[in-house]
């Protein structure tokens, strides 16, 4: 099988008046269709920058990024990028907010609206369609932002700390939900997180980045042989393999 995404020897630096900030150095990896990859790394190591490069918002200084064989800059349509902040527009209703991406891509067809309505119902926002985002709780805002991204029906989903604004319990629930949706729809996902447990619970693979400038410390494949079919983030957390993975990643992060 061909990788859906390949990142090859990518370097990136930010330039400001105060000087140059190297953010990423020599990053290379491949992502297979339908896989779930988690990226962990210390704060400021370039995780968000990496997602921006993949989504084509930034262009690498050196190296290449290919999506389905063509350069990332031309393949933005295949990507759904959920940013670190939910950035819901206060002046739009929840419903109009989740349609924003479709509107902007001029693909707001009745079928897509139907899909959005279904998702709103499934994720407990059905009764909140017509309220303004300011009336939603943190968890609901996050779910609205996820629906806004999923509405685009992207092949690759980039998630930048999507659960960081949630309290612990909601976080476990929402991450279970998201995991299930992504697996059901056979999406390829890349999730950035600070939380080692979350990375192990959700990922097929964890990429551990070093401190800035981020380079790849290690890529760890996650397998829960003991769980087989009924792997969910929740069950993964209580499986016997979990602590070993945790220690492995922890060591990579603090080294």
């Amino acid at each position: 099988m061909n990788p859906i995404l390949s990142v090859k020897n990518v370097n990136y630096s930010y330039h400001t008046q105060d000087g140059e900030t190297p953010a990423l150095s020599n990053i290379s990896f491949d992502i297979m269709p339908g896989s779930f990859t988690c990226i962990v790394g210390p704060s400021g190591c370039g995780k968000s920058t990496l997602l921006s490069l993949i989504s084509g918002l930034l262009a690498p200084d050196e190296g290449e990024i290919y999506i389905k064989g063509s350069p990332a800059a031309d393949s933005a349509m295949h990507i759904g990028y959920m940013l670190q902040k939910d950035s819901l527009f206060e002046w739009r209703s929840v419903y109009k907010n989740v349609l924003l991406g479709l509107e902007t891509r001029k693909s707001c067809t009745p079928e897509k609206k139907e899909l959005v309505n279904q998702m709103l119902d499934t994720y407990g926002l059905g009764n909140f369609k017509n309220v303004k985002p300011s009336q939603l709780s943190g968890g609901m805002r996050q779910r609205a932002a996820i629906i806004r991204t999923l509405a685009l029906e992207p092949d690759i989903l980039l998630l930048d700390e999507p659960f960081s604004a949630l309290d612990y319990q909601t976080r476990l629930e929402v991450s279970d939900d998201i995991y299930r949706i992504l697996k059901e729809q056979d999406k390829t996902a890349i999730l950035v997180t600070h939380d080692i447990s979350e990375a192990i619970a959700m990922g097929d693979r964890v990429i551990v980045l070093s401190a800035r400038p981020g380079h790849i410390n290690k890529i760890i494949d996650i397998n829960f042989d003991s769980l087989k079919e009924d792997r969910t983030p929740f069950s993964a957390r209580s499986s016997p393999e979990f602590p070993d993975y945790f220690n492995m990643i922890w060591k990579e992060l603090v080294q």
Binding site: L57, A76, L83, S87, F89, W91, L100, G101, T104
Partner: protein
Amino acid sequence: MSEQQKIYLKKQKRYKTTITLLRFLLFAGFLILWEAAARLGWIEAFIFSSPTRIAKCFYKMVMDGSIFKHTAITLGETFLSFGIIIVFGIGAALLLWLYTPLSDVLEPYLVVLNSLPKSALAPMLIVWLGNNAKAIIVTAVSVAIFGTVLNIYTSFADTDPDKIKLMKTFGGNRFQILTKLVLPASLNTIISNMKVNIGLCLVGVIIGEFLAARAGLGYLIIYNSQIFSMDPIAMSIIILCIISIILFKIIDLLQKIAKKLS
């Protein structure tokens, strides 16, 4: 509804009625005091006028129709300059937002022009443009335009960069970012700005009329001050008060409608 809630609502209602009543009493008391002071000779009615003298003057000018002419002219000039400010203010702010180098070049000039006491420009404008309505409107526009451009441009430029990034992840072009994000995000600023501007336009028009007009409330004031006829002056001021209240309320209403629609 619980008993406590009922009591609370009742209290609130009583408080509101009291406030309205007090406002009215203050106004009535002021009128009565003024009238009494004039009649009892505490103040010179010829200089300070009085409510009944103003009413008489008003009646006379309604009868010969002249008050309508003056008010209509002032209002017309105010609306026209207001319209020009809104169109040009938003237009210029858009250009500045679209072309960053343009705003970088022009910003210091706008700041200086904005901090200038604009009434200082009026005599010069009148010499340039002549003793006519054109000069008055340009004066009024000059009072508010620079502040408007700066204010609206600043609001455009302050648009949340994360929201702009979001629009870019959808593949949004500059025009979409403008119409879906920048303009709606600045709507409140634009309307608050309109509230300030409608008052400023009135100020500008009156300054212009002081200097250049042959009609209008400003002309009425300056003309009558030269012949020491205080009643029409006081009356004009009161009409100006009423006009500014009404204009402000109209914008307020616009704001509420905009809020509902969005």
